[in-house]
């Protein structure tokens, strides 16, 4: 049984002017225990919305969101709150995700107060110290406030908080994209180490294909709220079949000046998310476009072992 199982999930948002944005449009996906699954896409692709759906922070309009076999979409609030002990999350903006009026110690301790009421104060304190050490922070920082720390340290605090209850799933919502390159590497290295040590399952949300390539086992490529391609990361990135995945790959610029930049196949900007798109969402930007593309949505079909793509030319 997969740890997370989304079936035909739709989620739209109503804009103040009355129009609707289809953030997630008929998405089905699974996250397997012990694997790192990456959701990759540009802004407006629905990847963060998917993260919130998985965390039960947003209800879907339709479809089922199962976590450990339980559909969390219709779960009563108290039960959902109890379930949250097994879900961890690390957000993009380390500083904004930490309450500036709480000390680092209080921030990391909070999940214990909520979900482990039997623990004594001293026991909690010991667990907090241990969690801080795990993320390479000196336990003495427990008395400091997050605003007195650097971005990298703040993100470590966020990680310590997400992991202190040893959750079965950790959602990483662009955890490194607001960090500097040198710090980003430190944090990625830390995620890798913690995964190896605790056998963690990550849902890794990112727009950076380099990080995704380095870090994930499975990759799901999203465009305008739809899955356009998915499969094992090495396979998908070595043999991308969807033009959008190919564009994402050729948008990546090598740091080696002797490697010349690949041909970039796409034109234009992503269209407005409020527009109704009857066919393939890439219509208008795609170099391989044929007239059938704009008629009906293209279903995902297998092109390799576990490798699926939603393109009629693939």
């Amino acid at each position: 049984m997969p740890l997370v199982d989304l079936r035909n999930v739709f989620r739209s948002f109503r804009r103040p002017d009355g129009s609707s944005v289809w953030a997630v449009n008929d998405v089905s996906l699974t996250v397997e225990q012990g694997q790192t699954t990456a959701l990759i896409g540009e802004s407006g692709s629905g990847k963060s919305t998917l993260g919130r759906l998985v965390l039960g922070l947003l209800p879907p309009d339709s479809g089922t969101v199962s976590f450990e076999g339980v559909n969390i979409a219709g779960l009563p609030r108290p039960e959902m709150r109890r379930l949250r002990a097994r879900l961890g999350v690390v957000f993009q903006e380390p500083y904004e995700s930490l309450n500036p009026r709480l000390t680092v110690g209080a921030i990391v301790e909070e999940p214990l107060i909520i979900h482990r009421p039997a623990l004594t104060r001293a026991e909690r304190r010991a667990r907090v110290d241990q969690a801080l050490r795990e993320v390479d922070l000196d336990p003495q920082v427990a008395d400091r406030y997050p605003q007195a720390m650097s971005g990298g340290q703040q993100q470590r605090v966020g990680i310590a908080r997400a992991l202190i209850l040893e959750p079965s799933l950790v959602v990483l919502d662009e955890p490194t994209s607001s960090l500097d390159l040198s710090v980003r590497a430190q944090i990625l290295e830390l995620f890798g180490r913690l995964r190896a040590k605790h056998g963690l399952t990550y849902l890794f949300i990112s727009h950076d294909i380099t990080t995704v390539e380095y870090f994930s086992d499975q990759v799901i490529v999203l465009y305008l709220g739809r899955v356009v391609e998915r499969g094992p990361t090495p396979e998908v990135l070595a043999r991308p079949r969807h033009p959008y995945t190919q564009a994402l790959l050729s948008a990546r610029l090598s740091v080696d000046p002797t490697v010349s930049p690949p041909h970039f196949p796409m034109t234009g900007d992503p269209p407005s998310p409020t527009a109704f798109i009857p066919g393939c969402p890439l219509v208008g930007r795609c170099p391989l476009e044929v007239s059938e593309c704009s008629k009906a949505p293209v279903p995902l079909h297998a092109v390799g072992v576990g490798h699926e793509v939603a393109c009629i030319r693939a």
């Binding site: 540009e42 802004s43 650097s150 990298g152 340290q153 500097d180 390159l181 040198s182 710090v183 980003r184 590497a185 430190q186 990625l188 290295e189 890798g192 727009h207 950076d208 294909i209 380099t210 990080t211 390539e213 380095y214 870090f215 090495p234 959008y244 564009a247 994402l248 050729s250 948008a251 990546r252 610029l253 090598s254 740091v255 080696d256 000046p257 002797t258 010349s260 930049p261 970039f264 796409m266 034109t267 234009g268 900007d269 992503p270 930007r285």
Partner: protein, 328 residues
Amino acid sequence: MLSVRDLETRFVTRRGVVYAANGVSFDVGDGEIVGIVGESGSGKSVTISSVLGLIRPPGAVVGGSAMFDGTDLLKLPGRALRHIRGARIGFIAQNPFGALNPILNIEAQFANVTRAHGRADRATIRQNALEMLKRVGIAGPERVLDGYAHELSGGMAQRVVIALALLLNPSLVVADEPTTALDVTVQRQILDLIAGLIREGRRSMLIVTHDLGVVAQYCDRVVVMYSGRVVEEGPVATVFTRPLHPYTLALLRAVPRRGEPIQALGGRVPDLLSKPVGCAFRHRCAFAKPRCESETPEIRPVASTNPLGRTVACHLDVEREVPALAAG
């Protein structure tokens, strides 16, 4: 074209004096694209703001020179500098929606820039604007000109900013993280566009970025900054294949590569609240010596690469003591 020497910029804040740029020197040659690369707090944006005279109180440029076509931009009175900005030096901003005026229509913004540098009648302004918009790849320039910034997509808005920067045919273009605010698939298009326009007009460009890939693929020379100083400078082709400063090396090694363990650089960027003594990178440097504590390394040419014009600010005998990029 542009020659910056010993630039020093400081900010007075409530927490103390921030030493943002401490003796920054570099050159931009004719027809050259130079990238300034560094992490946040390295002083890269402050450097270009200083050169363009955009530092406002509580910040101030306290020393150095920036020679552009024989005049020192830092000593120029406001009016004279203003006539260079926008006309002979174009500026591409980071976030087009922050840069474009949301209340004026696009045509008015073209008109204001044109009129800031000379007289022109409406028809000419419109004609020039239309032509420029076509050159930056905007398909319906009339509609864009009559509309407002918020009606544009990110990529389109950035094209408008580029058109404004190139409107008066500047010989130097300064770009501050020109694609950071854009979507990944749009970034490539905009970078290709900018580089094409620069090359084809035989212009020079100074581009500030934190993205090593942008430097590797689009720049001729690179200036690596750390803690308000230049630590290494030289042609991209050699600097990125054989970095000589330990910081440049560590940055390049921090790029994740599948199948290889990540080589993270420990520690963090020092704050700039005290004037740095010694090498600012020494706390994070694997090769630091006692000398690095007390003596600030001057930027110096590297002997054997001298014909290539490589310089580095490090006390080490860099060619022998700093390992190659590929070796662990």
